[in-house]
């Protein structure tokens, strides 16, 4: 099949790749570009493990064709900070014990980031709505919601 050239911004860096049209954004990021923070889960848009930020909004990368990201700005968990330091949301997740097996966490944190970028002091119900597309089978969500509330405080103090 005819390969296509795709230009887009990934974690702040302009990149140019060539890929088969039948690849999803998930395939492209994980397999071709080697960023394994994006998780392959259900691949039918139900679990949210493959969540990335596309032009400021969260999307399931398993449901975006790679050529569809032409000209877009994509952020993965790897792009949350520019150096080795942790983002306040990551710190909050660790301190509040919101991480167990960890598989859902990259997606969960990216959903939390978009929420907090748009709403610095979200209510509990706003947090639950914001992460409704991210399944976690370990924590029961309570620690995750607590961590996002705590992250909101940390980000305000920054």
């Amino acid at each position: 099949m005819e390969k296509l050239k795709i230009n887009f911004k990934l974690n702040g860096k302009q990149i140019r790749v060539e890929c088969e049209p039948a690849k999803t954004l998930l395939d492209l990021i994980r397999d071709d570009l080697g960023l394994k923070g994006v998780k392959r889960g259900c691949e039918i848009g139900e679990c949210g493990a493959c969540t990335v930020i596309m032009n400021g909004e969260i999307v399931n990368s398993c449901m975006v064709l790679a050529p569809q990201v032409e000209g877009s700005d994509i952020t993965t968990i790897e792009g949350l900070t520019s150096d080795e330091s942790l983002h306040p949301i990551q710190t909050a997740f660790m301190e509040k014990g919101a991480v167990q097996c960890g598989f859902c966490i990259p997606g969960m944190i990216l959903s939390a980031k978009v929420l907090l970028d748009n709403k610095p002091s979200p209510s509990g119900s706003e947090i639950r709505t914001a992460i409704a597309g991210n399944l976690c089978r370990c924590t029961g969500y309570k620690q995750i919601v607590d961590a996002i509330k705590y992250a909101a405080q940390l980000m305000k103090n920054e």
Partner: protein, 284 residues
Amino acid sequence: MLPEFNLKRPLTLNEALSEYAAGSYKIIAGGTDMIVEMRKEKSIDFDILDISGIPKLKSIKKEGGKIIIGALSTFSDVFKNEIVQKEVPLLKEAVRNAGSLQIRNRGTIGGNICNASPAADSVPPLVALDAEVNLVSTKGQRTVKLDEFITRPYATNIKEGEILKSITFSPPVCTGYHFYKLGRREALAISRMNVAVMLNIKGGVIEDAVISPGSVMPFVGRVTEAEELLEGNKPSKELFEKAGLKVSGIMIKESGIRWSTEYKKPVIKEMVSRALNFAAGTEK
């Protein structure tokens, strides 16, 4: 990986229409239904025309008193749009809980209509609003009423080479509305059944009533027999229960007795009755 295909990504509608007329394509927009369907296949015998890069199809505006929603508007675009929030809160409520935020950010209203799933959350409110779909092809344009466009579950009368460009409707005249969605759980649920209702009550009497259920009948459309039962009468819980019973009876008449009927029969009655009570303010 998905099954192999070639992909074209036109950036204007004209380019898309001529490409579509020339090849053997299926259209992709947000991909939230298409990609799931393609993933089930080992191979596919069509190529993909990705129209998601055509900015002109992504606007929501009001022109000549009518609201025009571009086919590529996502559920999130509709939910956040000021015109929709102010003039068609029914539609805003209906798209609020479609899929997850990730899906609402990608899934488009045009895709929801063309996929024609009986569980589509945007269809019952748009039918309630008497919406029309505007179709274009290299041969010209045509406008069809939405309830005639969707002919049966997962089928529309879209013709070869036609692309859904926009959806048009007039802002409704109503004193109350409600969208009732019943899913298997709160988050990320596909509607098991849903219903959009609108009431226009003047001087304590129901002047106009609209009842538009989804996933209930073998076709999309309003239940006029139940609407007529309401019109000219005073709103009351008893009246709304009668309307619910009517919808339930018509469902059985149209769909026949199925494995799910025992469940759906009392539940649709209750859903319609509750939605009407919410719309009339007789229940909060």
